[in-house]
């Protein structure tokens, strides 16, 4: 097996050699199984965590040393004992019967070289250690020492239910230190604006609260407190683009709309407007809607990107250079005049990719559109000329998701090569590479303060990365299937994630703990979105439903004291039914995208599938 230069990696791999008689592996395993089953109830759940990693490592060892028949019979005998949520992995494993099969499979190689993390209480650990060291041929102890990392905590052993909530990822759970770094989850301060009383007033901008002479009405939506939120990152922690005039106009519009926003809650559910893509023939792979809900883009399996205007205002492209020189640049409506009326249409098709388009994202200023595709490139399109501007090549493998930062300029992409990359529109190479996942990165999202990036992966973990230095600051395990949707709450404190197991999990970013589980969907959840003020969480799934959950209730009364953080003892209440505010079925359209307009109307999109 070709091993790269790291010395500790090669040491680990070379230790994957003959460790005892292959025919006795079954006996070792069944001996351990017997011991665990006879142990005390309170310890049994924790020690049962050992079964799966041991099983896999022993099997891989047999395969690596080319004991095919022993490997096969070992697999046959014990694969049924494993937990149900590992079934997919076991299926992959059953196809690995020869040493050569292991070479090409990066995920399996990563599994072998990284340590599977188990969190066990001290008492259970002592029990296990004593038992394994008693036996003469302690092969299992060797394996435990080399391939498993046992994170010991002092306290009560966890119950099966608690353990089941947290396990499931390819690398076990997260070590305590992995979730200890300080995360600035607060929001950045918005510059203060004065909302004009009516349109004819000149808008006065007040940055840093210095009042102008006119004293127009101050807006009440922005924060007026001068003291820094201790959980918010410093304003200049990462360089962000300055606000242009058009951005300021946008913000004023935003605030005006926000003033007219519907306050949602269990008594006042949002109306849902569903955009169905007809005649897409299962080709619709990605959807995005602009923040002001004026345009909708669809990425398709035929490698086209199609942009529609949702409002009556049609899409126009800018005039050619010859025509532009003819217009009067000083006129008031110059922004209208540069648009070419002849090109007005509701739909624009963008050609350029050479593979299905898996992710699309509008820039916050609506000038640019990103799309990422199976051909390994991320393309930047201009929405003023409707042409492709740049192709960012970095991933050489399918790119599964991309997103613009909430402030524009930066964007993140994640793909099959198991890394997520941070780019800026004016650099042809990525600025940051976030490596650490064991399998494809399937979903990437920016935190509202643009300082952190959450990535969900096919290895069933979610990692939170710091944009400033590329470090992984949080690892969240608990999903039992690849993650396909992520949503940050508007206040930046919480993260909601959805995966193929049909559950939505809620995480407290500051403490690094799971705080809620929403059961109800029966199929993969591809869309998650919080309402504008964070009161409602909407989830859309392949089972053709949109469900609304009460976010306020889910996040109140959190037990996050030091004990919970230290031991990871979480007690999730079984309140999915209470939190569910509504289930809305579509006829047979899986929901691919959700978007709350600025007034809290919920827009949903999906492609009609006739099955």
């Amino acid at each position: 097996v070709a091993v790269e230069d790291q010395p500790d990696v090669s040491a680990v791999l070379s230790a994957y050699n003959q460790q005892g008689d292959p025919t006795l592996y079954e006996e070792y395993y069944s001996g351990l199984k017997h011991f665990i089953e006879c142990s005390l109830d309170c310890h049994r759940a924790e020690l049962s965590q050992l079964f799966y990693p041991l099983f896999v490592h022993m099997y891989l060892e047999l395969v690596y040393n080319q004991h095919e028949s022993e490997a096969k019979s070992f697999f046959e005998r014990f694969h049924g004992d494993q937990e149900c949520y590992y079934q997919d992995d076991l299926r992959v494993l059953s196809s690995l019967t020869k040493k050569e099969h292991m070479k090409g499979n990066e995920t399996m190689l990563d599994f072998r070289t990284s340590k599977f993390v188990l969190r066990i209480s001290r008492d259970s650990y002592q029990l296990l250690k004593r038992h394994l060291q008693e036996k003469q041929n302690n092969q299992i102890w060797n394996i435990v020492q080399e391939h498993l990392y046992i994170d010991i905590f002092d306290g009560m052993p966890r119950s099966k239910q608690q353990i089941d909530a947290m396990v499931g990822s390819l690398a076990g759970e997260a070590k305590r230190e992995a979730n200890k770094a300080k995360v600035f989850f607060g929001l950045l301060k918005e510059p203060e604006f004065d909302v004009p009383l009516d349109d004819e007033d000149e808008e006065g901008e007040n940055e840093e609260g210095k009042p102008k002479k006119k004293k127009p009405k101050k807006d009440s939506v922005g924060s007026k407190s001068k003291k820094q939120d201790p959980n918010a990152p410093p304003q200049n922690r990462i360089p962000l683009p300055e606000l242009k005039d058009s951005d300021k106009l946008d913000k004023v519009m935003n605030m005006k709309e926000a003033a007219r926003r519907v306050r949602l809650g269990p008594e006042c559910l949002p109306s849902i407007c569903f955009y169905t893509f007809l005649n897409a023939y299962q080709g619709l792979t990605a959807v995005d809607i602009t923040d002001d809900s004026s345009m909708i883009v669809g990425g398709f399996a035929d490698s086209t990107v199609r942009v529609w205007s949702v409002t009556p205002k049609k899409l126009r492209s800018v005039k050619t250079a010859a025509d532009l020189s003819l217009i009067d640049k000083e006129s008031d409506d110059v922004l209208e005049r540069i648009m070419d009326e002849k090109t007005a249409s509701e739909l624009k098709i963008l050609y350029g990719h050479s593979g299905p388009v898996y992710g699309t994202s509008f820039s916050p200023d609506r000038n640019y559109l990103l799309s990422c595709s199976e051909d390994g490139t991320v393309r930047l399109w201009s929405l003023q000329t409707f042409t492709c501007l740049v192709g960012y090549k970095g991933h050489n493998y399918p790119v599964w998701d991309t997103q613009f930062s909430p402030y524009g300029y930066y964007f993140v992409s994640g793909g099959h090569d198991r890394v997520a990359r941070l780019w800026a529109t004016d650099h042809y190479q990525p600025l940051r590479i976030f490596a650490g996942h064991l399998a494809d990165v399937t979903c990437t999202r920016f935190h509202p303060n643009s300082n952190y990036i959450a990535t969900g992966s096919a290895d069933r973990t979610i990692r939170l990365w710091d944009v400033l230095n590329g470090n992984c600051v949080r690892i969240f395990t608990g999903h039992k299937g690849p993650i396909h949707s992520l949503a940050f709450s508007p206040n930046g404190r919480f993260l909601a994630t959805g995966a193929t197991d049909g559950r939505v999990l809620l995480w407290d970013i500051g403490h690094g703990l799971m705080v809620g589980e929403l059961k109800g969907h029966t199929d993969t959840i591809y869309a998650l979105r919080f309402s504008r003020d964070g009161e409602i969480l909407a989830s859309g799934s392949m089972d053709n439903t949109v469900r609304l959950w009460d976010a306020v209730k889910a996040f109140e009364d959190l037990e996050t004291d030091d004990f919970t953080t230290a031991t990871g003892h979480i007690n999730l209440p079984e309140n999915s039914q209470d939190l569910l505010l509504g289930t809305y079925m579509t006829k047979s359209t899986p929901v691919v995208h959700l978007h709350f307009t600025r007034r809290n109307l919920l827009l949903a999109a999906g492609a009609y599938s006739s099955q």
Binding site: E4, Q6, G104, N105, E106, L109, D110, T113, S114, I238, P239, P241, E242, Y275, T276, F277, L278, N279, A280, Y281, G283, I296, A301, D302, R306, W308, L347, Y351, G352, N367, L380, S382, T387, C388, L389, V390, G391, N396, Y409, H416, D417, R418, V419, A424, T425, D426, H427, Y428, P430, L431, R432, I433, F434, A435, G436, L438, V467, N469, G470, N471
Partner: protein
């Protein structure tokens, strides 16, 4: 595939000056081929290494007031010396099939049912409105329903190749963008052969263009 592998194996065995092709040669040939055609993503330690390198450089400061922020021109696609031909008004009247897929959002359109190519006959079967020879379509979009005509013509084949008339049902013309399949078929075959091969090809075409 097998011939390629065996040829490669022959080359390797002759290079090693063996008289027969060995199992080892075949194994080597297979390995070289798969290394060429299938690559796997870089290994984890390599990724961690380059990530560490990349992440050490601080984030670059952003110059204010710099217009559209794009990489240097040679990395951009802003100067293509080609242009894509638009698909409109391109319907040719010669024998050939054109498939122009379109998607409509919000509008209800019906997909035409897979036409069964009936017997080529000189008669035209009228639906609701007869439209004269639709051979040249001037840039409009239509739904086409070719009704199945299953009258089996037992007797002699028509002497000249006939063009199956395409009938347009105006009641099905929706707002703008509807899938069209214009199908000019000229065939001389007997009635019993409804040309299943051509039909399959047309469906492939649809699939490709979607």
């Amino acid at each position: 595939y097998v011939t390629t592998i065996l040829e490669d194996a022959k080359i390797y065995s002759s290079h090693a000056k063996k008289s027969n092709v060995d199992a080892d040669d075949v194994r080597l040939a297979i390995q070289c081929r798969t290394d060429q055609s299938f690559t796997s993503p870089p290994p984890r330690d390599f990724l961690l290494d380059i990530a560490r390198q990349k992440n050490q450089t601080p984030l670059p400061l952003i110059k204010p007031y710099s217009g559209p922020r794009l990489p240097p021109d040679r990395y951009c696609l802003t100067a293509p010396n080609y242009r894509l031909k638009s698909l409109q008004k391109k319907v040719s009247s010669s024998a050939g099939r054109i498939t122009v897929p379109r998607l409509s959002v919000g509008a209800v359109s019906s997909r035409p049912s897979t036409p069964t190519l009936g017997t080529p006959s000189a008669q035209t079967v009228s639906v609701s409105a007869k439209v004269g020879t639709p051979v040249s379509l001037g840039g409009q979009r239509f739904t086409v329903q070719i009704p199945s005509s299953q009258a089996a013509v037992k007797t002699a084949t028509p002497t000249t190749p006939t063009v199956q008339n395409v009938l347009i049902n105006p009641s099905l013309i929706g707002p703008k963008n509807i899938l069209i399949t214009t199908n000019m078929v000229s065939s001389q075959s007997t009635a019993s052969e409804p040309n299943p091969l051509k039909r399959k090809h047309e469906e492939d075409d649809d699939y490709d263009n979607l």
